[in-house]
Amino acid sequence: MKLLLSGNEAVARGAWEAGVKVACAYPGTPSTEILENLAKYKEIDAEWSPNEKVAFEVALGAAIAGARSMVSMKHVGLNVAADPFFSSAYTGVKGGFVIVSCDDPGMHSSQNEQDNRRYAKFAKVPLIEPSDPQEAHDFVKIAFEISERFEIPVLFRMTTRISHTKGIVEIGERKEIPIKDYTKNPQQFIILPANARVRHKVLEQKLINLKEFSNKTELNRIEKGKNSLGIVTSGVSYNYAKEVFPDAWILKLGMPFPFPEDLFKEFYKNVKKIIVIEENEPFLEEEIKIMGYKAEGKKYLPLCDELTPEIVRKSFNNEELSHPEPMNSVKRPPQLCPGCPHTGVFYSLAKLKATVTGDIGCYTLGALPPHNAMDTCICMGASIGNAFGFEKARGKNFSKRLVAVIGDSTFLHSGITSLIDVVYNKGNTTVVILDNRTTAMTGHQDHPGTGITAKGERTKEVDLAQLAKAIGVEEVYEVDPYNLKETLKTIKKAMESENPAVVISKGPCALLKEAREKFKTKQKKRVNNEKCLGEKCKACIRLGCPAISMVEGKAYISHLLCVGCDVCTQVCPVEAIE
């Protein structure tokens, strides 16, 4: 049967067909839909883990215990999970274990564009790269076979243009793979130095065997051409090579590491010149050059940003297809939604002229105009540690104007340990937890604070206030972010306190059913033009609410967008919003 599937849907389907029993993930664009789809299969125990490291460890445990398992994450998630990742290469696995890393060249929704192909070489595990959704489906099944045959974790690397591309996929049926027998084997699975020294040698031998395999596997193939140009490529870049150089010879690598040296040598005999078409890092180019062959790639192609067909054409041929001149449109960055609970908090932080260390989530948008209420944003969970560092560098007085903001999901991901640090090391940092009861930015995934599992079942929910108290925070406040006066007053009080303080802003994401039901009872707002002070005021405009704009010199509220959250009525100095 054929379906139109995204790369992520195809990976989930392929994994299910391959008999996967355990799947774990933390949401992150562009990887999120993999676990969302795996969770729909009754045969798979799928979980949202608190973070990628936990996800990795649970899935690895399942694989050591003999089941086929999968962990999926965005590229930077593998940084969080790097510790168990490197160890797992040494221990190896019993059941097939596939690690899916969805990289984001072009940084559509990420803080960097690190190329995780390098992680495969660094951690010494085989790398598999599909070029489209069909291959994502087919290759993931082969990845499990490789993992079991060589008893090694396999890194399965996707990118945004594969994860979020939809294509036609021929699907198959599930094959149940019986769980492997478990026998205790401390020499393999306890990596004490004495054992690890042995395991390292085992791993090096596996890589030699895998290189042999890489020369022969169907994942790597030579496509005959009509001229003497030879292109080495992998992943989505293969498609751009086919578009721009339809007559060239192509060495198409679905398993780029360990690099298939013999296959490359055979390919080389047929061509006069080798070019390498790959995004970001010169990973394949370096492999070829290490062998002592000449190849050109990054001499022409950019290191930065994702590739496109026109970049490939322009880089090598110095030409582009003729097209109309670009035109100026209007700046339309993403923004907080109408009725967003974060709006009141960022409005207050801007009013308080606070120094704000930020974190990863929808609320990173508080950094944009009109709030401009953020000073730093580094990675998941960094806000609290960053604030404590500011406090250490600039003193307690400075910290009275200093706040860390972090979402509920991000706090449970990796903010909690930093808050422990603040208490333990006698800081007085203020933390605002923006508790919107979901992982919003990635499309509303549950987490340990929501009381719902990835399977949609009820579970215990973490009480953030009790958690903060349990680690020693004595000042814990809860505020309704739709009440601007209370929000501003409470944050101010917490900032000025001599102790560590946590303010929990409690308001479900405006797109959640819980919030929509509440808004249904509210009246949409309208502006009384006779009272509105117009251009000289614009207090409501400074909320950054998408429903409010200036039309003919007066504020205007779109009834298509307004949810009636009442925040704008609290900022109007002349009660013009009714």
Binding site: K2, L4, T29, P30, H108, S109, D132, T160, R161, H164, T165, K166, G167, I168, V236, Y238, N239, Y240, K242, E243, T308, P309, E310, R313, E320, L321, S322, H323, P324, E325, P326, M327, N328, S329, V330, K331, R332, P333, P334, Q335, L336, C337, C362, L365, P369, P370, M441, T442, G443, K538, I541, R542, G544, C545, P546, I548, S549, M550, V551, L560
Partner: protein, 191 residues
Amino acid sequence: MKEFNIIICGVGGQGIILASEILALTAMESGFDVKKSEVHGMSQRGGSVVSHVRIGEKIYSPLIEKGKCDFLVSLEKAETLRWVHYLKKDNPVIIVNDLELIPPFVSLGLDNYPQNIEENLKNITKNLYFVPGVEITRKLGETRSTNILMIGFLSRFLPFEEKTWEKVIKENLPAHILDVNLKAFKEGRRL
């Protein structure tokens, strides 16, 4: 087999992803290869959204190369301008929903909404169509079906049968909004 490269663009929340899904599925049902690509996450928060749909015998690149786009379907006027340089030089088709959505950056005085959009687009092609999408769908009783109306208009240029379009729409929209969307598709196709 002819190749069709189509960009659908607009603002987050206008149903661009659904519109491109209907288009891609109809192409698949009609025996074509198809790829479509878009970006999730950040861009959906009221920001600019674009979807590339490529239809043909065998499609490799999920992205349309600049200079190869045959159809630009835009659900918002200014968003059309953002992608015109993807169009082919030779008589491309531009279909614009006659709607201006003013972003907060304009109200904050940080940017200006572009002027003379229609005149500028006329310089690119004779095949320029402004569709009063919201006006029509308001009469149908659901302005949120504008995306499907626009797909209906686009369908006149594509070699897929009406019954295939309707089958795909029926299979992919929830029952309570199906009727109005089928009407919107028909209206668009007959405009």
